[in-house]
Structures are given as structure tokens and as C-alpha cells.
């Protein structure tokens, strides 16, 4: 190994510092101004559909358990919780009763749930929904297209869509009851 004198060593460290900071600053993630939940009614800046806060929710059409197609865009004007889940996923099962409770509480005020099941049989899903007493619409994402578009690498993944069709909150991982209630109430309170 080449011997470095103390001064050369200092120069090398300084160069590392400068190049490193430059790289860090250049490769930082530029915030794309997501709509903050704290400011109801703030205009959405982003126009490209993406599974992120502040972006319009990517549209999809899936069959429900009765074989009827359900399109996200048709539900515009309602507050929607899109929950991507599977029956084999324990945290998904754990949050289902809380979703059911909020569905019963707020559905009359214009709130609905789309429980997008990832890659399972209709019979499996229907059996689970019946056995657990869940009454909100479950949709069948048989080939995982919607899970992919929504980048649901963590199950459950939850997306709160406001009345204008914009995603306002994204949660990867299980939801707390207070989070569901707080978010839904806030979004319902906004002018349609």
C-alpha cells in the first residue's frame, strides 16, 4: 500500500468530504409538494396519477364478490379507503374489524371501503368475509395488477382518497383505529 504523508491524508479526507456532500445533496429526493392533511381544501399540485400522497389515485376496475365490476372513478365524491390485503396476512386480518367499525359508522356520510384482495380465490375471500362478519366491498385483484400499480410491497397498504379522487394519506402496515377515524372524519368534513 502506498504510504501517505499526513498532509496528503488530510487532502484525501477533505476531498472525500466535499465529493460526498456534493453527491448527497445532488441525489436528494426533491419534495413534490404533497397535499398536507393539515390544510383541508388545499389544491392538489400533482396531476399524474400515482400511489402517493397528493397525487390522483390511479384508476382501476375490479370484480367484486358478486361478479359485478367496480370502478374507482365511479365513486368520485366519496371518501374512499383502498386497503390492499390478503387472508393469509395476519396484520391485514387484525385491522379488518377496525375497518368494519369505521365503515358502519361513516358510510352514511359518504365513506366507503374498497378492500382489494391480492391474488386469492373468490371462494377464499368470500368465506373469510362471511366468517368475520365484514360487509364492505371486497374486490378481487386476481393477477395482482392493482397491487402492482399501488406499489403495495407491504401488506396491508392503505390509501385514503378524498372526494376529489386525490390520495391524501398512505399507510404501509397496520392501521390504528384512531388513525382511520381521524383521517376519515377530516376528509369527510372537506367540501365535496
Amino acid at each position: 500500500m502506498v504510504m501517505l504523508r499526513r498532509s496528503q491524508w488530510d487532502i484525501l479526507m477533505l476531498a472525500t468530504l466535499v465529493v460526498g456532500i456534493g453527491l448527497i445533496v445532488l441525489s436528494r429526493v426533491r419534495p413534490d409538494q404533497p397535499v398536507s392533511l393539515a390544510e383541508p381544501g388545499a389544491a392538489s399540485v400533482a396531476t399524474v396519477p400515482a400511489p402517493r400522497e397528493g397525487h390522483p389515485a390511479p384508476d382501476f376496475t375490479l370484480l367484486d364478490l358478486t361478479g359485478q365490476p367496480v370502478q374507482l372513478a365511479d365513486l368520485r365524491g366519496q371518501v374512499i379507503l383502498i386497503n390492499i390485503w390478503a387472508t393469509w396476512c395476519p396484520p391485514c386480518r387484525a385491522e379488518m374489524p377496525m375497518i368494519q367499525a369505521s365503515y358502519e359508522e361513516y358510510r352514511d356520510q359518504g365513506f366507503t371501503v374498497l378492500a382489494v384482495n391480492s391474488r386469492e380465490e373468490a371462494a377464499t375471500v368470500a368465506g373469510y368475509m362471511d366468517a368475520s362478519g365484514l360487509t364492505f366491498p371486497a374486490l378481487l385483484d386476481r393477477d395482482g395488477t392493482v397491487s402492482n400499480v399501488y406499489q403495495a410491497r407491504v401488506m396491508p397498504s392503505s390509501f385514503f382518497v378524498d372526494r376529489a379522487g386525490v390520495i391524501r394519506a398512505v399507510y404501509r402496515g397496520p392501521l390504528a383505529r384512531s388513525v382511520i377515524a381521524g383521517t376519515v372524519e377530516q376528509l369527510l368534513a372537506e367540501a365535496p
Binding site: W9, I21, V29
Partner: protein
């Protein structure tokens, strides 16, 4: 992407399984390397340090992940102790593991440097195995890319960050193996390992699509990486002054 391995009624997470395999290989390997480098005494010391390292890495990895995902973890503090292998951050695990061993050795009054060198020769292989787990489970996924070696994941062609990480780990392993043949000051291999880790974080983190962020959208792992590089270099500079023969 194969996040789950069905085994009868169990769905095992491939990421967790490979991480476990990596840790087991690491424990076996570190003891062998320790025996070669320092005989039974060093082997005993290394195996007595395994538990503090793993405990520190687990706590550090989860704390780090939770603190930088505060919007989720702040509302659900129970997640800090949830059994989810995916929610660990490598930077936190590395810092936690080092901190815990340092404290352990202060308490037990052991000489850390020879053990740290054993860790430097072991960890890159553990990381290479764990990267394979990341690839299977789709964790640490990359940003979308148009490069010909992109891999399809979550509906887009993305940088195969997991493969980059594996290559970086294997290259680090090779470099450290070469360095291990020289007679260096105790601790020099670990300093070199930290430098290589820092470089990996600094260069590969920008290609990840799930990087943990801090103020101004800066990626926290890059800042840690630069810190590791400078810390390792500062150590080298001091050692060279004290013992000019060591780095020849």
C-alpha cells in the same frame, strides 16, 4: 418476486429466512476465522460477542426504521416490537451492533480490535446472503430505470439494487481478503470494512426507491455512509502517525 415460501400451513418470509441463514453462516464463519487468526482465545471472545452484536443490531435496526418512519411508528408505538423482519434499517443495525459491542467490551474489559477484524471478514458474506433475501422479497427496491439490466418489480422496470448490494458486498469481501494477507494494525481491517460500507451506502442509496429520508429530502443512509468513510479515514490517519510501519 417470491416474498413468501409456503411450507405446509406456514408462510415463511423469504427475506427473513435468508437473513437468518446469513446470520447462521456468519456465526459459523466468524468462529472459524477467529480460530485461524487468534486461536481458541479469539474464537471464544468472538462467540461471546455474537449475542450482544445481534441484540444491538436488532434494536438499532428497528429503532432507526421507526424513527425515520415516524408518521407510522409514532402513532403505533407497538410496531417497535412487532415481529416484522422487513422493518429493519441496515444503517441502524450497523450502528446498534457496534455500540452494543463497544459497551459490552467496556464492561467486560476486552480488547475489541481483533474481534472487529474477524467481523470485517465475515459481515460482507452475511450481507451478500441477506441481499439475496432482499431480492426474493422485493425489499430495498430500486428506482425505475431504462437500463438493459433493470428488473421488473411492482409494475415497472427498476434498478436491481439488491444485486448491486450483493456485488458491493462480494467486492468488499474480496478487498478485505486481500488486505487480510498483510500484517496490519489490529482494527485496520474493520476500518477498511467501514470505509467500504460507507462507500456502498453513499453510492447505492440514491438508486433505492425506499430510502429513509431526513430534512430537505436528504437520504439518511448517505450521510451515515459519508460519516463512516471519514471516521475510518481518521482512524487510519491517526494509526499511521503512531505506527508508520503498519500501512506499508
Amino acid at each position: 418476486m417470491y416474498p413468501l415460501i409456503p411450507l405446509g400451513p406456514l408462510n415463511l418470509s423469504s427475506g427473513g429466512l435468508l437473513l437468518l441463514l446469513g446470520i447462521m453462516v456468519g456465526m459459523f464463519l466468524s468462529e472459524r476465522i477467529a480460530r485461524q487468526r487468534g486461536g481458541a482465545e479469539l474464537a471464544d471472545q468472538v462467540s461471546s460477542l455474537t449475542l450482544p452484536v445481534l441484540a444491538g443490531a436488532l434494536v438499532g435496526g428497528r429503532l432507526w426504521y421507526g424513527l425515520f418512519n415516524w408518521d407510522l411508528y409514532g402513532r403505533n408505538p407497538g410496531l417497535f416490537v412487532a415481529l416484522r423482519v422487513a422493518d429493519l434499517a441496515w444503517a441502524g443495525a450497523l450502528i446498534g451492533g457496534m455500540a452494543s459491542v463497544w459497551l459490552w467490551c467496556r464492561w467486560r474489559r476486552c480488547d475489541l480490535a481483533p474481534s472487529a477484524d474477524v467481523a470485517a471478514l465475515t459481515l460482507p458474506l452475511v450481507q451478500a446472503i441477506a441481499s439475496l433475501g432482499l431480492l426474493l422479497s422485493g425489499e430495498a427496491f430500486g428506482l425505475p430505470t431504462a437500463l438493459p439490466w433493470g428488473i421488473p418489480l411492482f409494475g415497472t422496470i427498476r434498478h436491481p439494487t439488491q444485486i448491486y448490494l450483493m456485488l458491493a458486498a462480494l467486492i468488499s469481501y474480496g478487498i478485505l481478503q486481500l488486505l487480510a494477507r498483510r500484517s496490519l494494525a489490529p482494527g485496520a481491517l474493520f476500518a477498511a470494512y467501514l470505509w467500504l460500507q460507507g462507500l456502498t451506502m453513499l453510492l447505492l442509496e440514491p438508486l433505492r426507491g425506499d430510502a429513509l429520508l431526513t430534512v430537505f429530502g436528504l437520504r439518511i443512509a448517505q450521510i451515515v455512509g459519508l460519516g463512516l468513510m471519514l471516521g475510518a479515514m481518521r482512524w487510519g490517519r491517526k494509526k499511521i502517525q503512531l505506527h508508520p510501519d503498519y500501512m506499508r
